[in-house]
Amino acid sequence: MFSNFDWNVILRSLPYLFFDGMRFTIMLTLMATAGGIVIGTLLAMARLSNIPGVSQVSGAYVNLIRSMPLVLVIFWFYFLVPYIGQWITGASRPIQVGAFLSALVTFTLFEAAYFCEIMRAGIQSIPRGQVQAAEALGMSYWTSMREIILPQAFRNMLPILLTQTIILFQDTSLVYVISVTDFLGAASKIAQRDGRLVEMYLFAAAVYFVISLAASYSVRRLQNRIAIIR
């Protein structure tokens, strides 16, 4: 069964897999996480806002994105981003957008909806008394958010935010559907070029497994340490 398993094809393609593919995957994961947390926090604040209309708009966006499969969202933005670029830059035709930028916009806006729900739970986990105390001290909404609420909300939700990042790391493999060379894309290209599907896909699965398992194990340890401090 493994008698003609070709280790050599994996060895030969290691530089391509990691310097091209894995770098794309990691960059996309980190940048989309950072952008997603910023936009998600703003969305969460909007969802909890008293201003009429604001929370409805934010809620509608989050519910819309969360009811769609990621693959469909990737297709949406793949065709939509050139038009958004045209609208922003005022160009006369839809502008050409690179694969990385297109994927980055997609994952940032998609993950923002999920980070919004996490941050909303985080903000709501802060006792109301703290909000009222901040108001009584004369802090403005933005000051109390920045100095009192968000730092605690962020710390309380850190393990869940990191778990979501691991899920995002796995989900970035779906850029395959728009033929982008992420880690899986690179493995798939070599698999098809050399006719070595078994070796390349098993190797890709092993790499994803080791990274995700190590990351989720670290998150669990972090969770225990935070729990003791509190």
């Binding site: 469909l72 949406w76 065709f79 899986l184 599907l197 896909y201």
Partner: protein
């Protein structure tokens, strides 16, 4: 935006000459639902078994269950699809492998098994959490009454545990519907794939994706309301405050 909107495209004939584009989208939705429902049957069955053995008194069974969950949770769904569809037929003896590759609807069966086992790991996690959320006195009382361990699970622990985890199971069911779109990579023409092929044939990209999005939203609303009805139906009066959603995580 200089894009030519044409909402009438849904009622025009598609290139196959028999069906309109709207009908193609609805066929896609049918495949999505068929895949999701069959996979859900696997996910619930396997997930319940793995969840139960993770709470069993035997440490080796617990480790086996944990390993199962870690294996299926730490590999991306797309990679798992490829493993089932491209790799498995090569690793089994060639007669079985050829049969796997040549059977009609191979991508459908692959998608069902892959999605079912992938989701079963997540269901197992919920089932374990549900059983552990019950007070340990329930298990002891069951055993003290003279029930065997399997009987205790069957008649005491699982009925309550499943009621507690209904809300997170609902979101897992919504996930399995959405995740079935990953099967388009192995050639299953489910809803997202149908929308993409409609976009390619008609060049009305945004209408096609809007149509698919609306169908996904309708499916979502139906499932959420249906599960709310189930929750009310199976609620045990006075036991858990069924009105409030259980702590999801």
């Amino acid at each position: 935006m200089n894009y030519n909107w044409n909402w009438g495209i849904f009622f025009q004939l598609s290139p196959d000459g028999t069906y309109t584009y709207l009908q193609l989208l609805l066929f896609g939705a049918g495949w999505t639902l068929a895949t999701a429902l069959l996979a859900w049957a696997i996910a619930l069955t396997v997930g319940a078994i793995v969840g139960v053995i993770r709470t069993s008194p035997n440490p080796w069974l617990v480790r086996l269950g944990n390993a199962y969950v870690e294996l299926f949770r730490n590999i991306p769904l797309l990679v798992q699809m490829f493993l089932w569809y491209f790799v498995l037929p090569e690793l089994v003896p060639s007669t079985i492998g050829d049969w796997l590759k040549q059977s009609t609807n191979a991508s459908f069966y692959n998608a069902v098994i892959c999605l079912g086992l992938y989701t079963s790991a997540r269901v197992a996690e919920q089932v374990k959490a549900g059983i552990l959320s019950l007070r340990s006195g329930q298990r002891m009382a069951g055993l003290a009454m003279g029930l065997t361990l399997p009987q205790t699970y069957r008649y005491v622990l699982l009925p309550m545990a499943f009621r507690i985890i209904l809300p997170p199971l609902t979101s897992e069911f919504l996930n399995i519907i959405k995740n079935s779109s990953v099967a388009l990579t192995i050639g299953l023409i489910e809803l997202t794939a149908a929308a993409r092929s409609m976009a390619e044939f008609s060049f009305q990209v945004f209408e096609a994706f809007t149509g698919a999005t609306l169908i996904y939203i309708i499916i979502n609303i139906v499932v959420v309301n249906g599960m709310r009805w189930v929750e009310r139906r199976v609620a045990v009066p006075g036991f858990i405050s069924m009105g409030q959603p259980a702590a999801a995580h």
